[in-house]
Symmetry: C2
Subunit: 260 residues, 2 copies
């Protein structure tokens, strides 16, 4: 049985609470949050506190606080030489106070409080300073049902950057499509099956192989029509830049071999 | 029973063949293709031809040829006053020869020969010149199991443009993520659950509400780190431009209310 104390109650903290609460191999010692109100509804399920000095002994302390609060909170912890991890994709492991054994437990998933998620779809990227701590964190992740990947700092930072492209930037592509369909009284809903299929395709095929469309085919007539339809200069800039990027990616594929 | 003759054997043509072949309410009269070899393996299932002068009478002729061939092929058809439709998102309905009754039967989906698709996930956008023809095309689409949407030319062009954003441009976001993870010896596979979840989220939530991440939170420290990690100038340009677009979209949301 691995004992865990959770700090923070944002999206990651709340999802981790639920996963730990469900797991039979992990016990949640305490849940700390700066504002006790936001976790008070859980007080019958776990010991809650807003007083950092009352934290008891646990195998792992998981900091799910905001990036900028990680250094501060880790030095305020009233003990040393215990395993303390943060969950951020782009924060250095050395931001954690060096009085602790340190690690990173980074969930590669988009977690919103409002959306349920199956933890088998939450790969955990684990980084530790001591090898021994890796094994404990791996057991913890597996106990929550998560796939596990050992990473170093460089790999984690690159994964976080890549996640911005496939999550935030992709979502902004959806947003722009929403804007332009709404402005012409058509329905964004019609695009939803295409959105799912585009994501599904790259589960078994490389994005390189999955590409189609006017940019890839070099269909200048359609590209010109599209640019004329776009009303915002910024949308035209995005259209031009990503079209160029697609053409550069596929520049070595003869046009005649490109799928329509 | 609706009788259909199919022209062209690319991605759309091949998927339509399969859907029509499966449907009990639609009969496939003939399948024409310029090159008979590419459809010769289907000759036991349907009457195939590469001679346009041999086309027999059918209720609908569906042109799935390339955008640039639509006008030509439609004028070569050896009859008039029958219903002829094309399947292109961005080609004018008037590109079809005016000797025909004309329509557009545009599937809003990414169809690759190699990937199976359920036609319930292929919304058909229908445009016709005569109202009566709309009802026949609607019956045809419903017989294939497709959702149906009546559109005018402007709406269809906008939907095609929006489809480029959610399909081709999104796929290029995946491609860039693939490139940067590969270059650092990490695994693109780790991103696959996040790709699915990002697509799944906007099935019930607007892309505006679903947005998260450093651009949205105005986390300049992380944005700077990410830009330093990107090696290609073009990737930096894309990062900057889409980050700006996200910030403009959410400019009216106070930073403190933005989700992490």
């Amino acid at each position: 049985m691995i004992s865990v104390t959770l700090l923070g109650a944002g999206n990651v903290g709340t999802h981790l609470f639920k996963a730990i609460h469900k797991s039979k191999q992990v016990s949640l010692k305490q849940w700390y949050n700066r504002s006790i109100e936001s976790i008070s509804s859980y007080k019958n399920k776990v010991s809650i506190t807003d007083d950092i000095s009352t934290l008891e002994e646990a195998d792992v302390y998981i900091l799910t606080v905001s990036d900028d609060a990680i250094a501060d909170i880790s030095s305020q912890l009233p003990f040393e030489n215990r395993l303390v991890v943060h969950t951020a994709g782009s924060v250095n492991i050395h931001n954690l106070d060096k009085k602790h054994k340190r690690g990173v437990f980074y969930p590669m998933q988009s977690l919103s409080k409002s959306a349920e998620i199956d933890f088998k779809d939450v790969p955990i990227c684990i980084e530790t300073i001591d090898k021994a701590d890796y094994h404990l964190l791996k057991s913890l992740a597996l106990s929550l049902g998560c796939p596990v990947k050992k990473v170093n700092s460089d790999q984690r930072h690159v994964l976080h950057l890549a996640a911005v492209f496939v999550n935030n930037f992709t979502n902004q592509m959806y947003r722009i499509a929403h804007e332009i369909t709404e402005s012409e009284a058509t329905e964004f809903d019609l695009l939803k099956p295409l959105i799912m299929e585009t994501a599904r395709k790259v589960q078994d095929m490389s994005p390189y192989m999955a590409q189609t469309g006017p940019a890839m085919r070099g269909n200048l007539k359609t590209i010109k029509k599209h640019l004329a339809l776009l009303k915002k200069e910024q949308h035209k800039d995005i259209y031009n830049l990503i079209t160029q990027s697609i053409q550069d990616t596929h520049a070595s594929t003869p046009l005649s071999n490109r799928k329509s």
